[in-house]
């Protein structure tokens, strides 16, 4: 029998399979390389990178919630030069695509990172306009239609690689923002980033996170993520990378049925370092159970 095809295409780049890592949960892959064969991942999406080093927020930066977690890392990163020096050579040692998540406090900063990376050997850029953990810029771009379009259009001028725009779920109308990003030139969309949340230590009477609020991720948010992927898939033509609480191959299939071309695995890595490849195997099992020869048969095949 022919092996089923799991190949997916995003912005003209062909991935061996639809499994990506969710930015910020997988570092640049080094640490997880002890547990999973990085060659088996469709793409590694690295932690958000800015033009200069960012220190991030004070600790505690994590709080456990029912079926989820809050983080307030605040995009700590060593800056784009360090990233280029250390992480690209490491990742190029593997047969996987490299997607660089970029962060900025101003449109100029986003553009500077994009321009710097346009000369480097990376496959795609993921524009994070949705991080709830930085005060300036970041999330305000992701929650305003016009800003979303504007920052996408500007960054697009400076990048040579396909541009993915990563959307925030903390909005009244996700479809409006998705369309704005596409109007601005996005080649693909990632959704969702984290929902803004908060947890309190009732004994200390203090917020658990030093930053007071943080981003909610994990299986708790999956229904919101699936809904947004579904709504956006009805409204735009570019490929969607779905994420938010994917823990199993079945969860990944759910996102693809809703309209995602690829999926990203985030919080699941923290519970099980082999989550990415376990999920890949789960998808393969589903495909063989239903005799699906090409993963494209799943994508968006929901019957309403």
């Amino acid at each position: 029998m022919m092996r089923p095809s799991l190949k997916v295409n995003i912005g003209g780049i062909e991935l061996e399979n639809p499994i990506m890592t969710a930015s910020g949960t997988f570092g640049s892959g080094k640490e997880y390389g002890d547990f999973v064969d990085l060659n088996r991942l469709g793409a590694v999406v690295v932690k958000g990178v800015s033009s200069v080093a960012w220190k991030g927020n004070p600790t505690p930066r994590v709080a456990e919630t029912h079926g989820g977690m809050l983080n307030s890392v605040g995009l700590q990163n060593p800056g784009v030069e360090e990233f280029i020096k250390k992480d690209i050579p490491f990742l190029r040692g593997y047969d996987t695509k490299i997607i660089v998540n970029i962060a900025g406090k101003t449109v100029e900063e986003y553009c500077a990172v994009a321009e710097r990376l346009s000369k480097e050997d990376v496959d795609m850029i993921e524009l994070n306009i949705s991080c709830p953990n930085v005060k300036e810029g970041g999330v305000s771009f992701g929650t305003n239609r016009d800003m979303a379009e504007y920052v996408t259009r500007e960054v697009k001028k400076y990048t040579k690689q396909p541009l993915i725009v990563k959307l925030s779920p903390n909005v009244t109308d996700i479809v409006e923002i998705a369309k704005a990003a596409v109007d601005g030139g996005a080649d693909a969309l990632s959704l969702i980033n984290t929902l803004t949340g908060m947890a309190i230590d009732i004994h200390k009477r203090k917020p658990i996170l030093a930053n007071v609020v943080g981003g909610l991720s994990g299986p708790a948010i999956k229904p919101v993520a699936v809904r947004m992927v579904y709504q956006v898939a009805q409204a735009v033509k570019v490929p969607i990378i779905g994420m938010g609480g994917i823990m199993t191959g079945e969860d990944a299939v759910e996102f693809m049925l809703a309209g995602a071309t690829a999926v990203a695995v985030g919080t699941a890595n923290f519970m099980n370092p082999t989550a990415t490849t376990d999920i890949l195997e789960g998808i393969e099992k589903y495909m063989s159970q239903y005799k699906i020869k090409d993963i494209k048969e799943i994508q968006g095949s929901l019957m309403i």
Binding site: T59, V62, P219
Partner: protein, 256 residues
């Protein structure tokens, strides 16, 4: 090499009020274990997603077991305490960097406070030099007899004065005019800060084991950071307690 596996629980019982001993059977973990390193324990109940980091208290490679001592603090450790013998538990480890045992060839001072005491036991077992141990507890000391087996001297302090010196370990340290070449310590932040200052004043090298809330446990997610600086460097950065630590050298850690 870190392992991601299911280990069988051979013992899980209370050894002091609210303090539990769990012994887990795993050849791989017992071979890779090292003083100061820790393991992540997973509850796998759908509600609590994050691992509980617990230090390695003792390693018995011959019997292929790890001994863990933990306090029941919140919901997760409560659940751990209810796990039964023969049950399997999902473990990731050993994690972190551990203590530099090689520095302990002279006169060692080992200082532990509360649930910071257990990770020091395997260390004391492995240290070559002479070792004086200071243990501080709020009340109800535990593991004291175990330390006596391997240490030259064990000094005990309890805050309520129920056993040993009434007060904290720092006072006891000063009372004894303790001298030494190397300090190893683990315990609550205020204690570590005081140990660090005392070490600096006495010009003794020190290694301190820190705690922070974690997610991945392997250095990938950056939630577990602490402020750290290269010696003398004012330009601090956030280092990962799970990967760059949990053991840091005295001068690295910047106290708030």
């Amino acid at each position: 090499m870190k392992k991601n596996l299911k280990a069988r629980i051979t013992t899980n019982h209370e050894i002091a009020p609210g303090i539990y001993e769990m012994i887990i059977l795993s050849k791989e973990l017992s071979l890779e274990g090292f003083p100061g390193k820790f393991v992540n324990l997973y509850l796998e109940d759908g509600k609590h997603l994050l691992p509980r980091p617990i230090s390695i208290c003792e390693i018995n490679a011959k019997e292929q077991v790890l001994r863990l001592i933990y306090a029941v603090l919140g919901k997760g450790t409560k659940k751990l305490s209810m796990m039964k013998e023969n049950q399997e538990i999902h473990v990731l480890g050993p994690l972190g960097n551990g203590f530099t045992v090689e520095k302990g060839t002279g006169k060692n001072i080992v200082i532990g406070g509360g649930v910071g005491v257990p990770p020091l036991l395997e260390l004391v077992k492995q240290l070559e030099g002479a070792t004086d141990v200071y243990l501080g507890f709020r009340c109800n000391p535990f593991l004291v007899e175990d330390f006596k087996k391997y240490a030259d001297n064990v000094y005990l302090a309890t805050e309520d004065g129920s056993e040993g010196h009434k007060g904290n370990v720092l006072e006891l340290l000063k009372l004894q005019n303790q001298e030494g070449d190397m300090i190893y310590s683990c315990g609550p932040k205020p204690m570590l800060k005081a140990v660090s200052e005392w070490a600096k004043n006495h010009n003794i090298d020190a290694e301190l084991s820190l705690e922070e809330r974690m997610a991945c446990g392997i250095g990938a997610c950056l939630v577990c950071t602490c402020k750290a600086a290269e010696t003398g460097d004012e330009d601090w950065e956030y280092k990962r307690v799970c990967k760059d630590g949990p053991v840091f050298s005295r001068d690295e850690v910047m106290w708030e």
